[in-house]
């Protein structure tokens, strides 16, 4: 299978679907002439023209809202947030319009809409540009929220997202556009609501999504090498719908779990993971589920502070050892 970057896989999904389906259009700031600040949409304006690759002024709420209108009319807009931080300006459309109208119209409309963009911390982008918005968006019924981490998944899940008749918040791993992986040619989909076992193991389950999956895989290596601990790593892939089953099955096997997220601890995905496990696998747990989260502070600029703010290998490994009672708390 050909190796491609996360960026290329994403572009491939969108452009292939645009070839197949005229109703698919792209919208966003500097996605056309400029090619996208992450170059995700580079070259697509030339291929599909300005009516399908729509450069917008800086007006996140406005253009997201127009996309909701287009979607209700049967188009399939894909809206780029230059970074997901700017989606705060479009929150009203994203959470209080797109996912509600089907319900309050009694099922008369569909809103096949994708809102995509880089999510999570970067390198020294500081407080206003450093957010992981999974639980922020994940709490709203009517929305779907996904966070693919591999090039394979980002293509397959983007195709699923575009074809989904519902609004989808598509959280890309902002730091990973250049990472490579195997990406099948042509049309394939990765369905929502099914977590991926990124690595099998029997001793402890590490549960994560987005770029922290890679962190967990590194920790799994380390635990294996240093302590002969076999960690199972689960990539949630989608936050809404949420795959409870895969987690529960794994914990029934390992009896121990660590949930890892870049976002802040309170009301985050890791808390939900913990709540689900203790609810559905209470009797299987040999230790409380541990959570590893970003530091409870706005994103700092200085690189040393920033690195200390993101979850680290050490923290995850320590949490794993804690649930294995290998280290005293």
């Amino acid at each position: 299978m050909p190796e491609k970057t996360y960026r290329e896989a994403l572009r491939e999904a969108m452009s292939e679907e645009m070839e197949r389906d005229d109703s698919v259009v792209l919208m966003g700031e500097d996605i056309g002439v400029y090619g996208g600040t992450q170059l995700v949409t580079d070259g697509l304006l030339d291929r599909f023209g300005p009516n399908r690759v729509i450069d917008t002024p800086i007006s996140e709420d406005g253009f997201t809202g127009t996309a909701v209108g287009m979607a209700m009319m049967g188009m399939r807009p894909i809206v780029e947030m230059m970074t997901m931080n700017f989606s705060f300006l479009a929150v009203d459309q994203i959470v209080n319009h797109a996912p509600k109208v089907r319900y309050f119209s009694g099922g008369q409309v569909e809103v096949p809409l994708v809102i995509r963009g880089p999510n999570g911390g970067g390198v020294q982008l500081s407080a206003q540009h450093t957010h992981s918005l999974e639980s922020f968006y994940g709490q709203f019924p009517g929305l779907k929220v996904v966070a693919p981490v591999t090039p394979h998944d980002v293509k397959g899940m983007m195709l699923t997202a575009i074809r989904d008749p519902n609004p989808v918040v598509f959280l890309e791993a902002g730091a990973l556009y250049g990472t490579k992986g195997e990406v099948p040619e042509g049309d394939y989909t990765v369905l929502f609501g099914k977590a991926r076992i990124a690595r099998e193991g029997d001793d402890v389950t590490l549960i994560s999504y987005g770029r922290q999956v890679n962190l967990c895989l590194q920790v799994a290596d380390k635990l294996n090498d240093e302590d002969d601990i076999k960690a199972e790593v689960i990539d949630l892939r989608s936050l809404r719908p949420f795959d409870e089953e895969t987690i529960i099955e794994s914990v029934k096997k390992t009896h121990r779990a660590v949930a890892v997220q870049e976002q802040w601890r309170y009301f985050g995905v890791a808390s939900e993971v913990t709540a689900i496990i203790q609810d559905k696998a209470f009797d299987y747990l040999d230790a409380p589920v541990k959570r590893v989260s970003g530091a409870e502070v706005p994103g700092p600029y200085a690189r040393n502070l920033e690195l200390a703010a993101f979850p680290s290998e050490e923290q995850v490994a320590e949490a794993a050892r804690q649930v294995l009672y290998l280290e005293v708390v």
């Binding site: 259009v25 300005p50 406005g62 809202g65 188009m75 009694g106 409309v109 019924p141």
Partner: protein, 358 residues
């Protein structure tokens, strides 16, 4: 033209297709008399909703269209098959004018399964997609970008249909309006935005007058900032609205460029049905505007011209009362939605509900 009784027999307002046949005679006296009936129906309907609200049979927020009837009636008269209409929460008049069943419209307000949206939306969220009515939205300004996107889609699909996008004077102050108007202006340069903005300036956003909400009170002129042609119309005078509506509608249809009309009107009722204290305006002011009530004004004209006489007017009013009585009875007697409806329409597609039903 079928006899009047036939047309109104099922309690529904004459549908737009019929009125289109006479677009050329849009302001002929017969046609005006028909429109008079529509306005009377709306008024009667609204009065019934106010009663329903006071009786506790209609819940949530209720916003009536009393005083503004000529605006929608005039613009919807220029509606053509395939056009779309979208507005905020002050939305009852629109389905009535577009041919929705008044019974289903009322039933929605009563939260019944027979309602336009199965009772799941209520007064603020009327929808009738088949008839071109795209809601019924509750957040001030929130539907404005949505309407502009619809205006884009209509051109993208290479139609000559347009989107009538209604908003209030209060909505002109909120960011989404500004962003959407800018997008409409931009897209319109290439003929890619068939949006007709209709600003219903009823002088107040809740308790705040236009003069207290912006230092520049010429609302149509605000569209100058986006390169959108605009004008004002006397929203109390149906004939003025009709002239404007047919003309600008055709222009948007032909050019694919947005256009904006500020309709000067007045909400003679309180903002919401629960809103009985009105510290923000004087009785005198309301009285002055009532003298220009759109129904009264038209009635006066039609009487003067001899199109209708006092008897016929009484008759029409009685007919409307009867119709609306039936409508209300229907709404009252309809059943609540079945409890399973709680979990449907959350998602389109297979996975309709993602929670647990415990």
């Amino acid at each position: 033209m079928p006899a009047e009784n036939d047309r109104m027999g099922n309690g529904s307002v004459e549908t737009h297709e019929e009125s289109q046949e006479e677009a050329s005679v849009a302001t002929s006296d017969d046609h005006l008399a028909d429109l008079y009936k529509k306005m009377a129906l709306i008024r009667t309907f609204e009065e019934a909703t106010q009663r329903g609200f006071r009786q506790g049979k209609i819940g949530g927020y209720l916003h009536v269209y009393i005083g503004q009837e000529a605006v929608a009636t005039g613009f919807i008269d220029a509606y053509k098959e395939g056009d779309k209409v979208i507005t905020a929460y002050r939305d009852h008049a629109f389905p009535l004018l577009l041919g929705s069943d008044p019974k289903e419209t009322m039933a929605e307000l009563y939260g019944k399964r027979t309602g336009l949206a199965k009772g799941k939306g209520g007064s603020m969220h009327l929808f009738d997609i088949e008839r071109g009515f795209y809601g019924g939205w509750g957040i001030v300004g929130g539907h404005v970008p949505i309407g502009v996107g619809m205006g884009y889609a209509l051109r993208y699909n290479e139609t000559d249909q347009i989107c009538q996008l209604y908003l209030g004077d209060g909505a002109v102050n909120i960011g989404p309006f500004h962003e959407a108007a800018n997008l409409a202006g931009l897209w319109g340069r290439d003929g890619m935005n068939a949006t007709l903005f209709i600003v219903e300036n009823n002088q107040y956003g809740m308790g705040t007058s236009v003069a207290r909400s912006t230092a520049m009170t010429d609302l149509s002129a605000k569209f100058n900032a986006y390169g959108i042609e605009n004008e004002k119309v006397d929203g109390m005078d149906l004939e003025a609205v009709l002239e404007c509506a047919h003309r600008v509608t055709e222009q948007v249809r032909e050019t694919g460029k947005p256009y904006a009309v500020e309709a000067i009107t007045y909400r003679t009722a309180p903002h919401g049905a629960a809103d009985f204290f009105e510290k923000y305006r004087t009785k005198d002011e309301v009285k002055k505007w009532r003298e220009r009530d759109p129904i009264g004004l038209l009635e006066h004209k039609l009487l003067e011209r001899g199109t209708l006489d006092e008897d016929r007017i009484e008759e029409i009013k009685d007919e409307m009362k009867e119709t609306i009585d039936e409508v209300t009875t229907f709404a009252e007697e309809s059943e609540e939605p079945p409890i399973e409806e709680l979990y449907t329409d959350v998602y389109a597609g297979e996975d309709e509900y993602m929670g647990e039903e415990e």
